[in-house]
Symmetry: C2
Subunit: 243 residues, 2 copies
Amino acid sequence: MKAISCKTCPLQECELLLPHDHERKSFLEDFKAGEMTVEPGTQILLEGAMTPNLYTVLDGMGLRDKTLRDGRRQVINFVMPGDFLGLQAGVMGEMTNSVEAVTPMRLCVFRRDDLWTLFRNQPELSYALTWIAAAEEHFLGETIATLGQRDGKERIAWALLKLFQRMQGLGLGENRRVPLPFRQQDLADALGLSLVHTNKTLARLRSEGVANWSNGHLTVPDAEALATVAVTDPEPVQKRPFL
Amino acid sequence: MKAISCKTCPLQECELLLPHDHERKSFLEDFKAGEMTVEPGTQILLEGAMTPNLYTVLDGMGLRDKTLRDGRRQVINFVMPGDFLGLQAGVMGEMTNSVEAVTPMRLCVFRRDDLWTLFRNQPELSYALTWIAAAEEHFLGETIATLGQRDGKERIAWALLKLFQRMQGLGLGENRRVPLPFRQQDLADALGLSLVHTNKTLARLRSEGVANWSNGHLTVPDAEALATVAVTDPEPVQKRPFL
DNA sequence: CGGACCCTTGAAGGGGATCAATCGACGTGG
DNA sequence: CCACGTCGATTGATCCCCTTCAAGGGTCCG
C-alpha cells in the first residue's frame, strides 16, 4: 500500500480534529518517518520497553493496557484513529503500558529523536503535543472517577457512551450505530469488572433498550438516556489537534 | 512574606527535581507573575471554571478532586510541592477538576496568557511541560490499574507507598516517617473505598507492622514489604523537571 | 469433526458498602 | 472552668453487588 502524504492525510477530514495549516503540514511531511501496517493481535508498543518510534493512528483500533506483576490486566483506554502513541516513552524514556492492535491498523511513524527539533522549531506543534497530553490526562481523570465512584451498570453505560461519542466524532459508523470491535473481556478489564458481570449488565442495558452492543457493533437509540444511566453530563466531544 | 526569586527557589534543592540552568531561571523570573498564600480548605482551582492563572506549588499540600453530578466525590491525586497546577485549563480552556488546599500552601503564580511566549521562546521549558503532562498521565494510568485491579488492602498499601516515596523524594520528613496531613476520608475517596473499610484496613496494616498512618504522620518500617503487599514493583521515583 | 475462542447463563460465596453508635480532641461561648 | 457542638477516628452488625465456579452454546477454522 502506498504511503499517505500529510497533505492529503485522511485525518484532516475528521470534524473532531483540527486541521493543520500549510507550513505545519510540510514540517510534518518531513517529520514523518514512514508508515506501518499491523495485523490484529500485534503489540505496537511494549510495557517497559524503549521505543525509538512514535505513532499516530491513521486507521483501525486497538487498546492500551498494563499488567500487574501477578498477571491481572487493566485496559487503560481504547485506541482510535487520530490518537498519538508513545508520548510517554518519547519524553520519559520508557513505555509504561502496552498498545495492542485489535483490528488491522495503519500507523504513521515518527522518530523519537526528531521530537527535539519539533520543540525547537515548531512552537505550535509543541503546544499541540502538550494539548494532547493534557487532554489524555483529562480523560484518565474521568476514568478514575468512574472506577472509583460508579457501580457496574453506571460504569458500563459511561464507557459505551464515551466510545459511541468518539466514534461518531470521527465520522465512523452510521446514524446511531458504530463499529466496536472489542471483546467483552476487554471492556471488563477496562472497568475493573468480571467478565460474567459485564456480560449480564450488557444484557440488561440491551433489554432496557438503552444500548445494544453485539456482533461488533454498538447501537445507541438515545444518547441522553444513556448519559442519564451513566450519571454523567452529556458534555460534547471537544475538537482537538493531532500530529 | 517576601516573594521568592526563582534564582533561589527552594525547589531547586529537592533531589527529586531537575534544577534549571541560568538562562531558564531568568526567563522564569519574568514568567512568574506573583505568589499566593492560601489557608487550609481554600479552593485553588475550581472544576468547570476558566482560570487566568497557572501555579507551581512551593510549599504545603492539597488534593485534586472531581465530583459527579449526584455529589459523589473522587480524589484524583494528592498535590505536593513541585506540582504544576492548571495545565488542563491552560491548554484546554476549562478546568476539569478542583484543587483544594489541605495545609497552608504557598504557590508560584503564572499567567495563562504568557504560556504562548514560553512555547515560542523556550523549547526546553516547553519540553519540560510536556514531560510533566506525560508523567502525570503515567501516574494516572497506574491509578487506574489500582482502582480496576487491586482489592482494598492492596489499594491502600499502594497509595501509602506512593505517598511515602514522593514525600521522601522531596526531602520532607525524617527517616522512615513522613507527614501526611490528609483525612481517612480523603484516602477513601481516592481509592473508591468506603471510609469504614478504609479505616479497618489501615488498622490491619498497622497491626501487621507494614505501615502506620496516624496523627498526620505515616511510618513505613520496610518499603519493600509494603510494596509486596501492594503487589507492585518498587520502581524508584524518577527525577522530573518543574517550572 | 474436534478445538479454540467468545458469548451466555445459573448458583454460591465473599469483599466491601451501609447503618449505627461510641470516643477523643478541639474550640467556643456562657 | 465546664457544657456543648463539631469533626475525625473507631468498631460492631447486617446486607448486597459483584466475584468466582461451573457448564453449555454458537461460530469459525484446520
